[in-house]
Symmetry: D2
Subunit: 342 residues, 4 copies
């Protein structure tokens, strides 16, 4: 089958590799839509994310959906031909965290496109049948693939809940910022304020979901939010992976509010204004991927509680994965989310 | 000033009574819109609710808004002429529960229209200034008065939270059922199923908010919900005050789901299937009025997260309070919410 | 091997039955200590608990510990000869509730001595290796077997938490009442008040753990607790399975306090004072067996945070299971907990 | 009356100042026991804590108890001569946070010995009557004064709860570390591991409460805790105010565990290993003073659930406040807690 194999930094090759065979409990999926995620770009550009290094050729990509092509031994209850969204978090099922209902924290997890686990930029993948969720006709392939990033936003709202009528701020207006804003809105946020250093992303956020936006390059974000809200937002979600945003979050959130760090930091060590965090009695909560959100994401998307399809600004076929990665890497052409249609 | 004074069962008289004077910290409000609540009807029909008895003439009514007419000593920060929504829960501010952030549980609370505290079916009332919330121009008087019942639904969702994508059931499709459904939807419920023994209320609920409705008089509610949901709803809100609905709630909710009793029961003793509650490890949560919901209700109404204005099916002026109470008492003319415009 | 087989009401026979063989992932345990639980007595006396009926000969008993005798295929990390406490809740591991960290709610659970699953009143049992917990030398066999009932009390405290300095009441001073009191004390309850209709159990409770006790047969429990506490206890645990105790719980607990139903009710329908529960904004929480408490129970027992060994008032060998069941059934000879030493 | 007045850095003078008069709702207290806190030392040594500066002569000291000497207007229910513990957090009672049950977050709070509010190193103070708690005969004056620091530890356990059987680590073995450990133990921690850079404090901690201790100067704390616990402690409390301890907390706590920052940091900006916090899905919770802990602290102290009297290693009279401050500042003579007996 055809696959977009990453051999190292900026070295992506379209190759023919063996089609995987489904084992017991697995299904073979023909991949249809795959989103390009910032972490895919990290592997393409840096060859690594922190301690996770691409040291052998492999595919990346994990925001995907597909069609059931064949069933592995012992699988029933799902028909070939079914379009399915997937939970890409293949947890071990037996460790302390899996048993405690936190599969996203499983230390033995196998996650798509995280070395050495293959990703979804290839024609077929095998996947545990119980992590496949049939998609209704009302949803497009891209909608189904968007459930993966949406799930991150939903999990952020599980970690740092929104109360009906809350005012929230989301720092970073890329895909993760947008889905976090969408999830917060669906959970009852009356006001959603967003920031980004890229003007086109501020515009996009305002058109899609934000009540207002600001660019930290020319606006004092803490002052801006204080002017808008008085006491400060009830909850702030850091979705930019920037230390400066953690500081803005702690300094702007209201006393006793919620600070949630969703973005993946670029540096190993993060920082925050400790005295402020203490005087406001804040907890800095972190989000690790997502947990029990696919079925739920399907439900809110079908119910019209989130409208995120417009996030897809660009489409490519499998031969053009490299173009897609470059586009996203360079924030070109107003890109928000690029999709690969396999 | 004119007032609709209740002298006893079915004995309501339009009278002239002295206009109250605002004390320190209070404002004088000219009442504009007052909703007719089931508890007002109880006092009109039965002369009592449980141990709370109308044994001296008094007005009832508590779902109201008004215009600031005059300020009591020491009040600032609010101008005469301002339209305001109110929190009718005049808590003591110094008991254990007020200090702990649960003013709705204050044992010393003074609540509108609860003997011997006067209600709002009169031209003027005095009210603590800090329980008055300015209403934006985008909201009508009736919208502002509806914030009180909406607050009950919002508090129900605080007590028994909705998770994004949840399926919920609401038993009882009167005003409290409808606002609870609206609050649950605003908090992320993907599916909302409702019941009522009155066919017109089922129809109204389906048109306003419900994904589907059923009438317990001709449908086995537990079977109906099992067919629709498989495991059962994630959360069930009892808004009918019926013992049968508590049983339906316990029997239909999924294992480990949430059961929330919002309705005021008619009998002194309620019942539930104990073995089922135990095997499903349920908590039967109760809702006592509402708590910190006026500002928040304003916010979600303004943001368009709830749309409940259509609940107002009838309007009366102060002279016709008795007609309004009778209409609501008899479920006549498709009434959902009747408003008094003073 | 020898087993105490229940053939029907009051028909218990000591028989020779085949020794089970450990399957993959299981160990063979030589049973050493088994507590006699009220549910064992129910099967002996009534032949059933609710819908669970002994309609074929089987052993009962589930509060047990043993010694590893042999390992099934694929088991490692535990040596034959090791004394182990067990979690008797053999959940399926793959249903929605197992995945969500609530194995005690697993609808596919196999539980010792619950028809048709064999119990532990027999010389050997097979058990999943990962539900076996090595016991330190400082703990006796009986201590290890007591971890099962202790776990119920610990789970009650997970469901209805104790805050440091709380006053709690426990209704019912049998083994489950005592372990719930012990767990509440270990979690920081400053005052523990207990009740029982049996005078010897009140005395035992007072000697073991309670600050004071009362007998509902001659004391108005609500008045007694009001006199002792003022506002009422912060939390009340119903451990008697009596409807009257649920009423006492709701009527005595402080406004906004916690009510937790641990006891298994005798009737199908339970009742409570609905208006009181609503005005106090209570949640009536239920406890379903226990969840993640064996390792934790071992830890607090070893640390000396609970001292419950004195609960064992009687010991019998396997030939005398019937005597033990009768003794417990008839509340004879001051029995609290009878142990079978196999 | 006599008072130890701080005029600036290292400039403490015993002076005669006017005795305060109790206003409405206040009582006049004759101070009896006052603990010397690290923050008192900060004002003595640095003349400030962050932005809070001693720019006019004032007393410090806030860990105190006293005897009711006189009642202000309108005070009843407490007799002159009563020994009382106090909650030193004089919150405004009307802001958003006071109403929401978080008086410790009140932005208008007046706190003893925090400029410009006078402290308790003087013979008399006035205090709100409803923040005074009668002390039973079984407790000494010093016990009552120790309730204030104990309350910090109890609040830490409210913020980052202990589950029965948990293993916890406390970094810093000064008074706040010790009371946090004591509170964690009282709440059910089976194992408590502590650290300190001062050998005598490790020894003291081990004698008083810790299962084991380590000195970060010669031990890799993360390795030490991993060896002891396997997965890492369930909860870690940072009580040293050191950035290095925040790193140790994040690096040692188990995946999904609790990190609680109790210590007051020395620098304005704190740091933590962001990737580790994210992968473990941690929340870094902060503690702001204490909240609803005096009555509760009295209760657990009286019940024998905490034993912290031995923390008092030194006593001084009011004339020797400077000696006491110097002793604590220099960690001399094995000091843990120095008390002033007025």
């Amino acid at each position: 089958m055809k696959a977009a194999v990453l051999h190292g930094k900026f070295d992506l090759r379209i190759e023919d590799i063996p089609r995987p065979e489904p084992s017991a409990g697995e299904v073979l999926l023909r991949v249809r839509s795959v989103g390009v995620c910032g972490s895919d770009v990290h592997y393409f550009v840096d060859g690594r994310i922190g301690s996770q290094v691409v040291d052998a050729p492999q595919t990346v990509g994990h925001e995907f959906m597909g069609v059931v092509e064949a069933l592995g031994p012992g699988v029933s209850g799902i028909e070939p031909g079914t379009r399915v969204a997937v939970d890409p978090n293949m947890n071990c099922g037996s460790c302390r965290w899996c048993r405690a209902g936190r599969p996203n924290c499983c230390p033995n997890v196998r996650f798509y496109g995280t070395p050495p686990v293959p990703g979804a930029f290839q024609e077929y993948v095998v996947h545990p049948a119980d992590l496949c969720f049939p998609v209704p006709d009302s949803m497009t392939d891209d909608d189904a693939a968007l459930l993966e990033p949406l799930g991150i936003g939903m999990h952020a709202v599980d970690i740092a809940p929104v109360r009906l009528g809350d005012t929230v701020a989301v720092f970073g207006s890329g895909p993760i910022g947008l889905v976090t804003a969408a999830a917060a809105r669906a959970a009852g946020a009356a006001k959603v304020y967003m920031t980004d250093v890229l003007p086109y992303r501020c515009e996009f956020a305002k058109a899609l979901i934000a009540d207002d936006t600001a660019n930290p390059n020319n606006t004092d974000v803490v002052e801006w939010l204080t002017d808008l809200t008085g006491d400060g937002p009830d909850a702030v979600y850091e979705c930019a992976g920037q230390d400066s945003c953690i500081h803005e979050a702690v300094n702007s959130v209201r006393i006793g509010g919620r600070c949630c760090i969703v973005g993946i930091p670029t540096a190993d060590v993060s920082s925050f204004p400790g005295h402020v965090a203490r005087r406001k009695e804040l907890a800095l909560a972190h989000v690790r991927r997502a947990c029990f959100v696919v079925r739920e994401g399907l439900a809110i998307m079908e119910a019209g509680l989130v409208r995120i399809s417009d996030m897809v600004t660009h489409s490519f076929d499998l031969d053009d994965v490299e173009k897609a990665l470059s586009l996203v890497h360079n924030y070109e052409d107003g890109v928000i989310k690029a999709m690969i249609h396999v």
